[in-house]
Symmetry: C2
Subunit: 412 residues, 2 copies
């Protein structure tokens, strides 16, 4: 009788929710307009007379394939990468990731045994849950994905080591080493040492090291990225990490600067592969960012302003989830990055997401954080708290909680 | 005796040239600083409060994969392409060309029989002399190039038709339809009709239609680009042309906007292929260009200012070549574009270029305008008159003429 009352109550809450006519969007990790406003000075930079770098080069013309040295120095400091091993490119690190994998498929990478397209069943390890767009790149290029679930919120190093040691068709692994999308996991020194040091059956195994959230802290702790390139060199596998980063969630997502870092050999390879594609990146946009940041501390100051805007939103998500879903679901407590990862009871995620959609709350489709959109547990929901206004966010999370509870009730 | 005096005289002139300590550069088709100055207002655009398109979309954030509709409309008008068949991307049309060929190799194009990498000895026709970077793309991706020399300054349509009709390994052809690099040739209606209408053994033959110089007129005649997409559709081969263009030589070469045009089917294919690579182009740079141009007439006005700067430089080249090389060499008389194509006596181009280099005048290496840098006649020299100042240009062309004459003398 108590149970029936509870269900009626949840069904009623959901009916009320549908009647309230919400249209809220938690789908993507997008900065909110108030975050974008922080970078509005970029819109008038560099200014009419300003088009030369420190060496006097006219940045309006062709050339400068490596990108603006002064901006590479700033992000070298932030990413712990020597600036001569860090190239500054266009507006999308995703495009650089795609391109490195394309080049690996068509021509191969240094130290390899030829183009990856000639490797039977070429495959890449994908820690899950992970970033959907990483998986889309591989799916679009026909590269096999092997999911490796996180265990208790950590990389499953035993499984990873065992797979790469025995299977030469495995040529790479996706890594989001800081504030992983969507789990918020940051790799430890021991984990990074394991990844750069492990024996691999493939001679040219690569870590696709997407340091998308290297300066995106949600607390006063501002840990530096680990020096993955130095660690890989000391482990005897200097060519293993390919590092990616961008200003997408520092300034303007569509109009920022992306970076590629690697060993000197990998950087030389990238230079050679890029030289056939372009005469150079948009150096004026790089100058615009240089003028806006000033130095690495300028980036850190800006990121603290982002934190002041978004940390309260993450706190609101935690509070509401704690009030409504304690004992029913689990969720992450990120100290950086852009997501909260919600784990609901097995078999209820897709129903909950569908209920939310029908009530006007858009979420990333259930399964998105898995290769081929296949969440075998149907339990993972990614929450992106940054974009909605605080009021909208709270309404959306309250609604999501009702949908999760109702999905759980209906499944029992 | 007269001949000996002549040689002595030329050797003396060359010795004087070397002693004069020139350092001049005619290598690349780069706008001069005074041309770049025309676009300096871009450096402060769009301005601090300006970040929305006509529909109110916030262009600072992710999204808008097709590019800014208002800018696509302007270049649709200039390129004679419906704006819904024209996508606005990043800063380099070369990167789009590279990407379409990569995608053709890895996944194939609409109407095809699979990825081009599975086509034995896949090949692309290359009218020669042509654009070195087109050839570099194919060489870097291992695609075989078949040179087809221009005949009397026109496409050799008989050879082209015969090759594509009989050989299914030929999947494409490079075309610079207006003011070709480096010959200055503009395709006629009959030629375009032949290219879009010809029978091909390959089911998915593509014309890589690089309309790099569509608005780059050197005279008051301002012919419109031919409607290659409409002509291809009427010929029953709507998917054949893939159109590329950019603002590289309209505003700032490194910091402009590039475009991709095609049939609706090709555009949909491109959208799908691009969606795995990026969340969208730099829409703020597109807005910056929209504000600067205003409309298509704004682009035309700007190009007339370019013409006022560079047409006298082309005239100076013609004058000096006429004074020094009449009866010895032939050269083009371009009415648009960025190059003068110089044809020197067989077997003397590389010597002339080497002599010029030793005298401080840098030219594109002899053979650059041919696949694999192989000019079988060793007769082609590309002159790029736009970048040097008028005085430097005249000095460089005078020097080049001495080097050509000396190379010819020494070869006799």
């Amino acid at each position: 009788m108590a149970s029936l009352e509870h269900m009626t109550s949840l069904e009623q809450q959901y009916a009320d929710l549908q009647a309230s006519g919400l249209t809220l969007d938690l789908t993507r990790g997008k900065p909110s307009p108030s975050q974008l406003d922080l970078s509005n000075p970029l819109l008038a930079l560099p200014g009419e007379g300003d088009f030369r770098d420190a060496s006097g080069t006219d940045l309006r013309n062709y050339g400068g394939a490596d990108g603006l040295p002064e901006l590479r120095a700033i992000f070298g400091e932030l990413l712990q990468i020597p600036s001569d091993q860090l190239l500054a490119y266009g507006n999308a690190s995703l495009a650089i990731m795609h391109d490195t994998i394309v080049q690996a498929l068509l021509v191969g990478v240094p130290g390899g045994d030829g183009p990856w397209r000639d490797v039977p069943d070429v495959a890449v390890l994908c820690p899950v849950p992970g970033y959907d767009r990483h998986f889309t790149i591989l799916e679009s290029l026909g590269v096999r994905m092997i999911p490796v679930p996180f265990v208790d919120g950590r990389l499953d190093l035993d499984t990873i080591r065992s797979l790469v040691a025995s299977d030469p068709s495995i040529r790479g692994m996706w890594c989001v080493p800081m504030y992983s999308n969507p789990t918020g996991v940051t790799y430890t020194v021991d984990e990074v040492e394991a990844l750069v040091g492990m024996e691999t059956a493939a001679p040219d195994f690569r870590l696709f090291w997407d340091n998308a959230y290297a300066v995106h802290h949600l607390t006063e702790a501002e840990p530096l990225p680990l020096d993955v390139l130095g660690m890989a060199e000391r482990a005897g596998h200097p060519e293993r990490p390919l590092v990616y980063a961008s200003t997408a969630k520092i300034t303007f997502p569509g109009a920022g600067v992306a970076f590629f870092g690697g060993s000197r050999v990998n950087v030389e390879w990238m230079r050679a592969r890029t030289s056939a594609q372009t005469i150079g990146p948009d150096k004026l946009n790089q100058l615009r960012h240089l003028r806006f940041f000033g130095d690495a501390e300028g980036v850190r100051r800006l990121m603290r302003k982002h934190r002041a805007i978004i940390a309260p939103r993450f706190a609101a998500v935690e509070r509401i989830l704690g009030e409504r879903l304690t004992g029913v679901a689990d969720w992450t407590h990120p100290t950086g990055g852009y997501f909260v990862n919600l784990e609901v009871p097995r078999g209820t995620a897709s129903v909950a997401v569908a209920l939310a959609a029908a009530a006007g709350v858009a979420l990333t489709p259930a399964g998105s954080a898995f290769p081929y959109r296949d969440d075998p547990e149907d339990s993972n929901i990614r929450i992106a708290p940054t974009f909605p206004s605080p009021d909208d966010l709270e309404a959306a999370i309250e609604a999501l909680c009702i949908c999760v509870l109702l999905a759980v009730e209906r499944s029992n």
